[in-house]
Every structure is written in C-alpha cells, then in structure tokens.
C-alpha cells in the first residue's frame, strides 16, 4: 500500500491507498546539454537537481477511495507531503500534477462506489529513508 501524510512537518492527515499499478516510475530531473566545438571537442553543461526525483504512480481506486484522494489533494495541493510507498521508502514530495485527472474507467459492482477510477499521481521530492 501507499501512504500519503500531510502537511509537513505537522502531519495531520493520513490517506492510505492501495499499491500502485505496474509501470510506476522514478526519474531524476537532471539536464545535460551537449555542445561540440569546431575541433570536435565535446562539452557538456549539466543542470543538476541534487537528489530530487520525480515519482509517477498510477492507481486503480474505488470511487470512494478516489473521492478520498481528491479531498486530500484539495486540502494539500500546495503543501509538502510525506509519501511512504509500497517498497517502504519514505519520501518528502510535492504533488506536481496539473491537472489531477480522475477517470472512471469501469464498473465495479460490489466495490465502494461501484466504479473503478484511474488516477495518476506525479510527485517530486527527496528520499528521506
């Protein structure tokens, strides 16, 4: 499962989500510009973001859980949050989606809300532990 807690540092709200679907991703935000001189010498200009990483998770949530996530985003879209992912890693991140899209993808009888909602979360931040 994946746990979102906010706001930092005074954590008040905890939202527990199921584990994300496959294709979750972690990427650095570094940029490299390669320039080549007239004599063929290659120069690289690097813009580093230290240890900041971008995390991408896609969830298939019940309609009720999607409403909970929506309420969490409404409350803390401008706050730094703590994210504990399915690997047990603790991250200190911002939610950087814009917009946040909740797409009702299929019917799910018997599940809370009777629907499955697909949501993608994009976060940028640092690994705490």
């Amino acid at each position: 499962m994946l746990v979102l807690q906010a706001p930092l540092p005074g954590l008040t709200t905890t939202t527990v989500l199921p584990s994300p679907q496959f294709n979750d991703a972690q990427a650095g935000q570094h940029k490299v510009t390669v320039l080549r001189a007239m004599d063929g010498t290659r120069y690289t200009h690097v813009r580093t973001t230290a240890l900041r990483q971008k995390l991408t998770y896609q969830f298939a949530l019940t309609r009720m859980k999607a409403l909970e996530l929506c309420a969490f985003i409404r409350a803390y879209y401008r706050s730094q949050i703590r994210l504990t992912n399915h690997l047990g890693e603790v991250w200190r991140v911002w939610l950087v989606n814009n917009p946040f899209e909740f797409e009702a993808v299929e019917r799910a009888s018997g599940q809370p809300g009777n629907e499955i909602v697909s949501v993608t979360l994009e976060c940028e931040g640092f690994l705490e532990s």
């Binding site: 499962m1 746990v3 807690q5 706001p7 005074g10 954590l11 008040t12 709200t13 905890t14 939202t15 527990v16 989500l17 199921p18 813009r47 580093t48 973001t49 230290a50 900041r52 019940t62 009720m64 859980k65 409403l67 909970e68 929506c70 309420a71 969490f72 985003i73 409404r74 409350a75 803390y76 879209y77 401008r78 706050s79 911002w94 950087v96 814009n98 917009p99 946040f100 899209e101 909740f102 797409e103 009702a104 993808v105 299929e106 019917r107 599940q111 809370p112 809300g113 940028e124 931040g125």
Partner: protein, 325 residues
C-alpha cells in the same frame, strides 16, 4: 602664569657645603583666566637632586596637584580639559630600589563628551640583581546618563502541534472513504472525514438558468472514461540551486472540470439539448450529475457536435467547468 612657593622644608645632612637638601617643597600655580581663554596649559618642571655621601638610600618625592576646570557658559561648549603629567623617577643604586609612579586621573565629561584616561607607565629596573618591574593601572570611568531611551523588544514564538494516526484495517483503508484526520493547531485545511452526503445514483440533468431554472434537459448517464479534472493555480519554480519551490495562495482559483460523453440520445433529447446549448450560451447552468451532486458552472464547448452514429441515436460530449454547490 606665575608660580609661588608656599613652603619649603630643608634637611641638613652634615657639615660643609652641599650637605643640605630641600626635602619638600609646595608650589602654587597662579592662573589668570579670561573670558576669551579657550585652552589653559600649565607646564611645571620640577627637578630635584640629592647627593648621597654614603650608602644611604634616600627617597625622592614630588607632590604635584593639578586642578583645571573649564566652565561652560551659555553658548560655549566642547571645551577641552587636558592634564598632562610626566614623572621620571630615577634611583641610582646598586641595591635594588623601588621605583613607584602613582597617578590618579579623574575626568568628568558632560553631554556626550568622550571621557578618556590614558596612562603610559614605563618602569625600568637597572641593577646587578634582578628586580621586579610591575605596572599597575587602575581605571575608573563613570558614565552618567541624563536620559533613558527605551527600546521595545518583542519575541514572537509560535508553537504548533499536530498529530495523525493510521489504522491497519486494510480492507477498509484501501477501498472505503476513510481519511485519518488527526488534530492540528495550525490553520491548514483538512479533508472532510465523511463521504459527501449527496453521493447517490441518478441521471444527468441540465438546468438553466441556475437560479429559478426554466429549461431542463435530462440525459442518460455518461459513458465510462468520463474525467473529473482538478486544476490549481500554483507557482512552480526551480531555483538556480535546483530547489523546487511550489506556492499557492488558498484564495487563488481552483478549477474543476467534468468531461462527459453521452450516447444513445433520442431525437427529442437531441433537439432539447441543442436548444439548451444556445439558450445557456456563456451562462451559468446547473448540472445534477449521476451521483446526485449539484454543480454550478458553464459549458466550455457549446460548439460540440451532436453526432448521429446510427439512426435515431445521437452522441454528444462536452466539457463543463464549475464547482460543487
């Protein structure tokens, strides 16, 4: 300036010429002060010497007392009072002797004057035996305040505390609406702890105008893949050092849009919807969605096509921007 010797004490050391000495002498300095005098300088040079017939140590003593006062009258300020006194004592003897210089300077400055005492003591012990060279200086300076200026100092320290919790009931927390909202003394908003009360099952109903509606169009529920988008105005910057800074004022607008596609619209509904789009062009309408949630907003794409993929079967998709009532 003139000097006047008031008293002299002489001592006879023995018979013959040069066997007497002046042991103590009191001298007064006579001053004449004029109103135009700016500075007063007294220079007094006292030289005393004695010759000793035998291995007899004698003490030399000079007593000089200066008292200079510069009286400030109205309109006369910043007068300087300077006392300069130089003692040079020399005791020639093979036997260690004690050379003592004692000086007391007392200066009083009024009205932001600089009160400064400067003493340079140089003692030299010349002798066959090692002597002790010791300088002792004692300074006493007194600054008397004539006014007290109070400065207020304020320390604002705010302590906040917050707490949250989490239940391990996985079946609950992964499916149901169950945010764990603890407590906080901060003014941050928190999500509601209960699911929206109006969430239910209904149909899609469009009404115009929003207040006191006169036109109503009832459509089927939208197909799956309908989207509910939240867009926030945020300042998202990365500093030169690579730090990500995200800021948003809570009063900045939050835009929520619904994208729906509705199929199987009858011919009558199609005509009603086309008329509705024209009538409500750019105006706020009411939208009661399939979960019985009432929205207020506008249709962003009134030029949407009402397509007819089959006979008597129409399809439309539109985007609605609004907020929950």
């Amino acid at each position: 300036m003139s000097l006047r010797s008031t008293r002299q004490y002489a001592e006879v050391l023995g018979a013959g010429d040069g066997k007497a000495r002046v042991g103590r002498q009191y001298i007064e300095v006579l001053l004449e002060l004029g109103l135009a005098a700016v500075s007063i300088t007294d220079t007094l040079g006292l030289v005393q010497s004695t010759e000793v017939a035998g291995p007899l140590r004698e003490a030399l003593q000079q007593v000089v007392f200066f008292r200079s006062t510069a009286v400030g009258h109205l309109g006369v300020i910043n007068r300087g009072v300077t006392d300069t006194l130089t003692f040079v004592d020399y005791a020639p003897s093979n036997i260690p002797a004690t050379v003592v210089d004692t000086m007391t300077l007392g200066n009083v400055g009024v009205r932001r004057a600089i009160v400064s005492d400067t003493i340079a003591l140089v003692d030299t012990a010349n002798g066959g035996k090692a002597g002790t060279v010791e300088d002792t200086a004692s300074f006493t300076q007194v600054v008397t305040t004539r006014a007290v200026y109070r400065r207020s100092i304020a320390d604002a320290l705010t302590l906040l505390h917050a707490g949250t919790y989490q239940s391990d009931n996985l079946a609950c927390v992964t499916r149901q609406y169950s945010p764990f909202v603890g407590f906080s003394t901060d003014t941050e908003t928190t999500p509601p702890t209960t699911v929206p009360a109006t969430l239910g099952v209904g149909v899609l109903t469009l009404t115009y105008p929003f207040v006191s509606p006169t036109t109503t169009v009832v459509l089927r529920n939208p197909e799956f893949a309908n989207k509910d988008s939240l867009t926030f105005n945020r300042v998202n910057r990365e500093t030169r050092g690579g730090t990500l800074v995200i800021y948003a004022d809570p009063n900045w607008p939050k835009i929520e849009t619904l994208q729906v596609e509705i199929q199987c619209i009858s011919t009558g509904q199609k005509a009603d919807l086309a008329a509705f789009l024209v009538a409500s062009l750019g105006q706020e309408i009411g939208l009661l969605d399939y979960e019985n949630r009432q929205w207020k907003g506008i249709i962003l794409d009134p030029d949407t096509a009402i397509a007819c993929p089959e006979r008597g079967d129409y399809t439309v998709s539109f985007e609605f921007e609004g907020e929950l009532c």
